[in-house]
Symmetry: C2
Subunit: 416 residues, 2 copies
């Protein structure tokens, strides 16, 4: 059994890379700027973090972050691997973060620093049970045993009346959608409080189920103060709902973990605010280590962004995120990747070609609600596009047979 | 009573600033890329966020963040003020964050985006009680009715045995220190678990109090999974401890708020990992809005960084952070600024000159433990330097009278 955590960083520094790496290892283990009393060699041997590898990388070309020391002409970039003794923090995600992602971003010895990977020992698996439902549990609850799971987001994000929301959910449910979620902006607003929303939506869904023999999964955004998570979850469960959603960065990984110990429903993990510590290539935390911690903390579904999205990430970055969520983690922690952001039927072939899987939850918000023939036609168009993609049929061929798909492509665009 | 939240951003964009601001307001309120069914004018009127001000700023000169759309030659920079209807999220910090700091960092319409200020309506004060002790409560518990509060961090951060820690605490307590804290790296490690640390430290502190009639405040780092916060706090309380510490970013603002509803002790809020979303001037969240949310969430003490610190921030930035924590907030939320990072006696005059207050908790780690005559001399040197600073006596004059201070200046340096 491994007794250490391996963290990988990409950094730029105007002091020698070896020195910058040693500063990080020192600051984040025994930790101060001067050797102090009682800091014995034996203590250092047991608790010091160790630099195990440094690979030189080409410079990013970006000016260093503020406060860097050293001669900028001496700037070098490297990929640095550091081992931290597990004995320093034990298998605790919050305390792990203090070591591998604490003060180090503020160090003057670096002009760029990004945590890009983590390798955790099995002690974390012993402590954190992880997702309770995962992909299979989700498929089972939404009665979609195979193929891509097609979902949508309630739009407009906020402001619908209960009646309007019920109509929308009914329309989508009757169209055979697999999954509907609240927007991340829809929490517990005074105009249509969460408890009322739960009542309205579950009533509508039950009628859909009675009519069609199948109920879409609806992820209620229960994001709020920690003390409200369990009552919110319980209200969803009591009403017959089948999924809860939290914005992971708003409740914190620790809040997600708290909920996961109590949930009897899959947890849909939204990544809103991820960009705040990820978009700068010079700073912050990559999706790869972040999703590991979110899976350990119990996310059954995790947003990865989608191909050709309206946000900043490239398709290669999206693929890396989807692959990261699908990668094995400590022998378990199976989590469903959620693709969203400007997703339309025209992207089905690209998405399937890149990911080579249908274990995906693909969310189309505007792409379904903005369909010129209405939301039901929007759902049909998504389903037909994906069916064509997975059966090897060109999109245009299918569109020639399915007017709703043709209309979607006319409205939202064809693949370029 | 105000019915909206005002958020201020600094952004760079290659589309017209007015357009970029509208995209943020739209995405973060009604929110999608295409107008959808049921999105009535009346709904928009009630729920849309509004751009209320745009001030042009000089360009940062940094290359835009990845994924920006538009012609980089058209890049402009501005300070944008947006009002969000409170009705969209209610007075909930997690749901507020989804609106003012959610997906917007990922928008392609911006090449830089930073949340720099927030103005919250009083509904937040009705919901969040905030710090229970604040400055006065802290002074009372540590029996330091006026003057700067002098503290230190246990160093080495980790790895001391119980006996060594007891010795260190005893030495510091006998030297009259006001405050001692665990390092942020010291959580609940297997070698000296938190419960054992609490026992060892409180035993030592009680003897100090018996001997000297005064017990330093010790902030036990109880950072861990949410479910462990309350038992950890209760153990500190039961043992007679007077302070708990959490790494705010590791338990999340929501975790801090959860603890604050239960605490009977001041909460020392560490800001480790703050740099991950703050160091890039192009991205993330400024200290000003962050500390507002941390104070609302119940932090009695908040780390601001210190002058001439070993990290990246300039003295002006540190002063801005100290001033932010001392600024009024919704009629309450008095929180003690904590200055740390390479703090030594030589910085007392500068710190007092810049802040013009002694309502500060000044932490010196290496500057006390690394004192050539031992920790007790380190405490004395800090106290004497501050006494000179607040009584208008030049540092060198005082050092000529106090050998421990002279030795500290020789070791750690004089002001430049």
């Amino acid at each position: 059994m491994s007794d250490h955590v391996t963290a990988v960083y990409e950094l730029e520094s105007a002091v020698p890379l070896e020195r910058a790496a040693e500063v990080i290892a020192g600051e984040q283990s025994c930790g101060t700027f001067v050797r102090v009393a009682r800091e014995s060699d034996e203590l250092r041997a047991r608790h010091a973090a160790h630099v195990v590898k440094i690979e030189e990388l080409p410079l990013s070309g970006r000016p260093p972050l503020p406060g860097m020391v050293g001669d900028p002409n001496q700037l070098r970039r490297g990929r640095v691997t550091i081992e931290f003794p597990l004995a320093n923090f034990g298998p605790s995600i919050p305390n792990l973060l203090a070591a591998v992602a604490g003060n180090l971003f503020e160090l003057r010895e670096v002009g760029a620093l990004r945590l890009v990977d983590l390798e955790l020992p099995s002690a974390f698996a012993d402590r954190y049970p992880g997702p309770r439902f995962g992909i299979d549990g989700t498929r089972s609850l939404m009665d979609r045993p195979d193929g891509p799971m097609i979902g949508t987001i309630v739009k407009p994000s906020i402001g619908l009346t209960g009646d309007q929301l019920a109509q929308l959910v009914t329309e989508l449910g009757d169209a055979g959608i697999d999954f509907i979620k609240d927007d991340e902006l829809q929490g517990n607003p005074p105009g249509l409080p969460l408890l009322e929303r739960i009542r309205v939506v579950t009533d509508a869904l039950k009628k859909v189920a009675d009519r069609n023999g199948r109920m879409p999964m609806y992820a209620f955004n229960i994001t709020d103060d920690i003390d409200r998570l369990e009552p919110n979850h319980d209200a969803v469960l009591a009403a017959g709902g089948t999924c809860v959603m939290v914005c992971v960065n708003m409740v914190g990984l620790a809040g997600l973990e708290y909920l996961s110990r109590r949930t009897q429903l899959p947890i849909h993990g939204h990544r809103a605010m991820y960009g705040a510590y990820a978009r700068s290539p010079q700073l912050g935390i990559d999706y790869t280590p972040w999703q590991q911690l979110a899976r350990l903390s119990g996310a059954d579904h995790l947003h990865t962004n989608g191909f050709a999205n309206k946000f900043y990430e490239t398709d290669d970055e999206v693929l890396a995120s989807v692959s990261a969520v699908r990668a094995p983690l400590l022998g378990g922690y199976e989590t469903l990747p959620v693709l969203s952001s400007a997703q339309t039927p025209g992207l089905a072939h690209l998405t399937y070609e890149r990911t080579q899987t249908t274990d995906l939850l693909v969310l189309s918000g505007g792409g379904i609600h903005g369909h010129p023939q209405g939301s039901a036609a929007g759902v049909l168009a998504m389903r037909e596009a994906w069916d064509a993609a997975t059966s090897g049929e060109p999109l245009d061929e299918r569109a020639a047979k399915v007017p709703a798909l043709a209309a979607a492509l006319d409205t939202f665009g064809r693949p370029t």
